[in-house]
């Protein structure tokens, strides 16, 4: 039996703007296995980020349930949700979302401060993580002093601070050039392979295709289809052939 980390049951999300109701998610059912690399793909406005927010407990669904590690997220208390965000998930965003008032190192230590990890331990771990993402020589720079690719590396190091079992990435390469984007994808893929972290990434980026185990195509708030890696490779091959 597969080990399911994330399961959504008929997840609906509506946004109300005055009398208008926009149905951003229209009943999403997906199951994601531990250790998978999943890409959520779809046109702009299809609901990828909305789904990302539901899975990461960054917003509540209007209807339906999200289960993480078998836990129904809607049954958690405020404190449990905070602990969930702190320990179980690492978030990576398109716009990095680093805290500008903290250095690269300070950004990486913050989730560990929230987790109550002692000073010395968290400082060492932050150094180790920043080294791993290739920023050993930029640790004490503020985000403003770093390039986009470097900022995203800080965000990745920060996402890993409390050894999450899931990394959620919302268009992590959208603000980066092709080569830097490739490096970021490789870095995330390495985590997936070496540490067994489950990766769920919303993306437009076709470079993500060949590292994904499965691709979930989202359209108009619905799962249009789910493709496996072997099906993808054929399509990538076709795309490659035309070039």
């Amino acid at each position: 039996m597969p080990d399911i980390v994330v399961k959504t049951e008929d997840v609906v999300k509506e946004y109300r703007m005055g009398s208008n109701v926009l149905r951003a998610l229209d009943g999403i059912n997906i199951e994601i296995e531990r250790g998978e690399y999943i890409s959520l793909m779809g046109p702009s406005g299809s609901g990828k980020s909305t789904l990302f927010n539901m899975i990461g407990a960054l917003d509540r669904p209007t209807e339906g349930e999200v289960y993480i590690d078998g836990q129904n997220m809607s049954h958690l208390s405020q404190r449990q949700i905070a602990a969930f965000r702190c320990h179980r998930v690492g978030y990576i965003f398109q716009s990095y979302n680093l805290l500008n008032v903290r250095t690269a190192h300070g950004n990486v230590t913050l989730p560990m401060i929230f987790a109550g990890i002692p000073d010395k331990e968290r400082n060492e771990k932050a150094e180790k993580l920043l080294d791993m993402v290739g920023l050993g020589d930029r640790m004490y720079h503020l985000p403003d002093e770093l390039s986009g690719g470097q900022r995203q590396r800080v965000a990745i190091a920060r996402a890993l601070a409390n050894d999450p079992s899931i990394v959620l990435a919302d268009e992590p390469t959208a603000n980066l050039d092709t080569i830097t984007g490739r490096e970021i994808i490789d870095l995330i893929k390495q985590l997936n392979l070496k540490q067994g972290v489950t990766v769920i990434s919303a993306t437009h980026d076709l470079k993500m295709l060949d590292v994904s185990d499965r691709i979930v195509d989202i359209r108009d708030g619905l799962v249009e289809r789910i493709r496996n890696r072997d099906e993808i490779e054929i399509e990538v091959g076709e795309v490659g052939g035309h070039e």
């Binding site: 960054l58 590690d69 449990q80 602990a83 320990h87 929230f114 920060r158």
Partner: protein
Amino acid sequence: MQQQTPIEEQIDLPFVESLRISFQSLKIRFGRSIITTAGITLGIAFLVSVWTNNEIELALQESGRSSAITNLDEAAEQGISTKDIWLIIMSLIVCVVGIANSMLMAVTERFREIGTMKCLGALDGFVVRLFLLESGFQGFAGALIGALIGLLGAVILGLKNYGLDLFFYFPLLPAQHENGAFQLGVLLLILFGCILGMILAIIGSSFPAWRAAKLPPAEAMRTEV
């Protein structure tokens, strides 16, 4: 599903940790912090100068050395003219609105930061405490400086009007005059100004911070200023 790992409860941060984070934030955003603080300073400077000026006039009236400009009959009767009352109320309103506005601006700019901290595991209470500490410190520092500036302004004006007599009759401490008029004294006014500035800064910042902290992080992070 196979696995049912219970999700633990998030812990509270020790107070020193919050203090450290808030000071660091003030330090790095020093330029912006100064501007916000300047809003508080101006409000309190205006308030304290108007009030101190009023105290000085009252004290010198009582001493019989009032400047000729004042309507003596009215002053003797009421101790404080309607014009002065109006000015005092106006200065209070300007001060409240000014401080609330500068704090609100400063918090609104940081909605994304609040959302991000919540993604990393911050409790709502931590976010509020962070803003409480930052704004309390800013409020106190800004108000103290403002009160001193306001005092200086009123003293200069008093020197111009009354010359060195000002220092003989300076209403530093609370006083009860023979005709029953009561004066609070400048010292208490300054203290009041500092406390008011701090309270206004704290309310002006913690209230919007609390509202932002209650939002789901996805919404807080959407806010672009």
